[in-house]
């Protein structure tokens, strides 16, 4: 569980269609964690749930899809109107 020390400059984006509130300074990953969603993807071999681990762009556990590209959600600034979805390895 995460709590915020301050409330400022709210923005929002969507994850799989759901509106996610965020604040200035948030990455997509930190906003997801603050929202209570830890599992962002499924591992490719064992199909196990995975979520942010390093938060500094090194572990690639927080991959999501934005604009058709696979990106690190911890390295992506949360901005208004961003449409984020899970990375889908299974279907076109």
């Amino acid at each position: 569980m995460l709590k915020r020390t301050s409330n400022n400059n709210p923005v929002s984006f969507t994850f799989e269609g759901e509106t996610i509130p965020a604040q200035s300074g948030d990455s997509v990953a930190s906003a997801m964690l603050a929202h209570g969603t830890q599992a962002l993807r499924v591992s490719t071999r064992r199909k196990a749930q995975r979520g942010p681990y390093c938060m500094m762009g090194a572990c690639y556990e927080c991959l999501v899809e934005i604009d058709g590209k696979t990106v690190q959600s911890c390295m992506t600034t949360a901005t208004d109107g961003l449409q984020v979805s899970r990375v889908n390895h299974e279907d076109v």
Binding site: M1, L2, K3, R4, T5, S6, Q23, S24, G25, D26, S27, S30, A31, L33, A34, Q38, A39, L40, S43, T44, R45, R46, A48, Q49, R50, G51, P52, Y53, C54, M55, M56, G57, A58, C59, Y60, E61, L63, K69, T70, M75, T77
Partner: protein, 460 residues
């Protein structure tokens, strides 16, 4: 293509200091960093720090302003949000910003890409809800997000620092599960005299431990057999303690086992590396001036071996002077005189580091995990599978890729490389230097094919 005297990769304490020092001598400098603002991980988001966050993070964090502020007054090209993904021997640097690839050239390059937290491969460490202690600190620094009800497990100075920061934020950890053993104090004692030059730092550390104690946080010392339970997310941490198994319910486990150099760029350049027995990691070989086995590439800061933020700052200065001298922009006398005070700092910090390395060694269960523990998170490869590759004739890390895709995922071996080397060294009874490490190739961070293709015909 823009050309510079000096390019500096990474705007942490080493990179910021090197940039400022080189500009002061009139060099043309380019500073590149992947984050949106300068500071590195240690002084991350300091530009946006409000009073409340500053109070939580403390004076060592706020000190970073003395390094960040000069950047706004110097004449260097500074690009943030820049992911460097390739460096060629001839000084060509390729990086991307907002999905656009760019190329610059520098006569000399200082790599100051810092450290990564050492992987803590224990059973269940891949479950959502398990993060590094550093990740929890990044949440505070960047977003003012405080992890509540966390169990901190592992050992090392950063673990205690973050525990104190969480206490200051009003959300003390529910427990600290420390893997440090009493024997470590005995081993470390002989390095204490050399560490006393940094008595103030030692005192600060003791103060952290006192704060944790007075906050009444359950503190399990000499813990072992860490296992995180849960099927789709972390539910509990169990471990052995004083002959019993303890189980703590928590959905948030923060792991830490110190930090290791981030060697992706230096490996991709095929620089010479060596195994550091005290720190249990590889680092690039460097001269006293930070110059690597390739004369136009220097390393400064934790990326060349773990020394901490204060040492990184001094190394940044020394590396800048060394680079400028090698470019004939300053004389040997100017270089030597300029480096003098920083060498004093480095000597003191090295004494402290030897003590800390001995005090917080990596536990066996993390170095060479049990068979069912996942080592390669990207490709879900377990320690047992790696050992089975050894039985099939695998002698080195690059063969573990061929045998079982270990290290072939998007993190490109950042979080499994050291563990794979440890396991192979043990199983094949070889030195770590003989086992070696993953061969790293560009792009050192994934880019799109479109970004790469945009450079068609621009190369050499």
């Amino acid at each position: 293509m823009k050309t510079y005297d000096l390019a500096i990769i990474g705007a942490g304490p080493a990179g910021m200091t090197a940039t400022t020092a080189a500009c002061a001598q009139g060099a043309s400098v380019c500073l590149l960093d992947e984050q949106q603002t300068p500071g590195g991980q240690i002084y991350r988001s300091l530009n946006h720090c409000d009073e409340q966050r500053g109070a939580i993070l403390g004076e060592d964090y706020l000190y970073g302003k003395t390094l960040i502020d000069p950047l706004s007054t110097i004449d260097a090209d500074q690009t943030f949000g820049a992911t460097v993904w390739r460096i060629d021997e001839n000084g060509h640097i390729y990086f991307s910003t907002h999905g656009q690839a760019h190329r610059i050239q520098a006569r000399h390059i200082i790599i100051a890409t810092g450290a990564l937290e050492r992987a803590s491969p224990v059973p269940g460490w891949t479950l959502p809800g398990v993060m590094t202690v550093g990740a929890a600190q990044i949440l505070i620094k960047s977003s003012g997000l405080i992890t509540e009800g966390a169990v901190l497990a592992g050992t090392g100075p950063l673990l205690y620092t973050v525990a104190v920061q969480l206490i200051s934020a009003g959300s003390p950890p529910t427990a600290i599960v420390d893997t440090q053993q009493p024997a470590n104090y005995v081993t470390a004692a002989k390095y204490l005299p050399s560490a006393l030059a940094r008595a103030a730092t030692l005192k600060k550390g003791l103060g952290y431990l006192a704060k944790i104690r007075s906050a009444g946080i359950p503190f399990y010392r000499a813990a072992g057999d860490l296992t995180i339970e849960g099927s789709t997310a972390a539910q509990a941490l169990s471990f052995s303690h004083k002959g019993h198994t303890v189980r703590l319910q928590t959905d948030n486990v923060l792991l830490h086992q110190g930090v290791i150099p981030n060697t992706q760029l230096t490996r991709s350049l095929r620089l010479k590396h060596e195994w550091n027995r005290a720190q249990r990691c590889f680092h690039p070989q460097t001269s006293d001036w930070g110059i690597s086995s390739q004369s136009n590439i220097s390393i400064a800061g934790d990326g060349g071996g773990i020394g901490g933020a204060i040492a990184a700052q001094a190394e940044g200065h020394v590396a800048a002077l060394g680079a400028l001298q090698s470019l004939s922009l300053i004389t040997t006398e100017q270089r030597d005189a300029g480096a003098q005070p920083h060498r004093q700092t480095l000597k003191k910090e090295a004494g402290l580091r030897r003590f800390l390395d001995a005090l917080y060694p990596v536990p066996e269960e993390v170095m060479r995990p049990s068979d069912h523990t996942i080592i390669c998170r990207c490709e879900d490869v377990t320690a047992g599978e790696i050992r089975s590759f050894v039985k099939a004739g695998c002698t080195g890390p690059n063969q573990t890729k061929a045998f079982g895709r270990c290290g072939m995922g998007p993190c490109q071996g950042r979080y499994c490389g050291t563990t794979v080397t440890e396991i192979l060294a043990a199983e094949n009874k070889l030195s770590h230097d003989a086992v070696g490490a993953y061969r790293v190739r560009a792009p050192i961070k994934p880019i799109t094919l479109g970004e790469l293709a945009s450079l068609t015909g621009t190369g050499d």
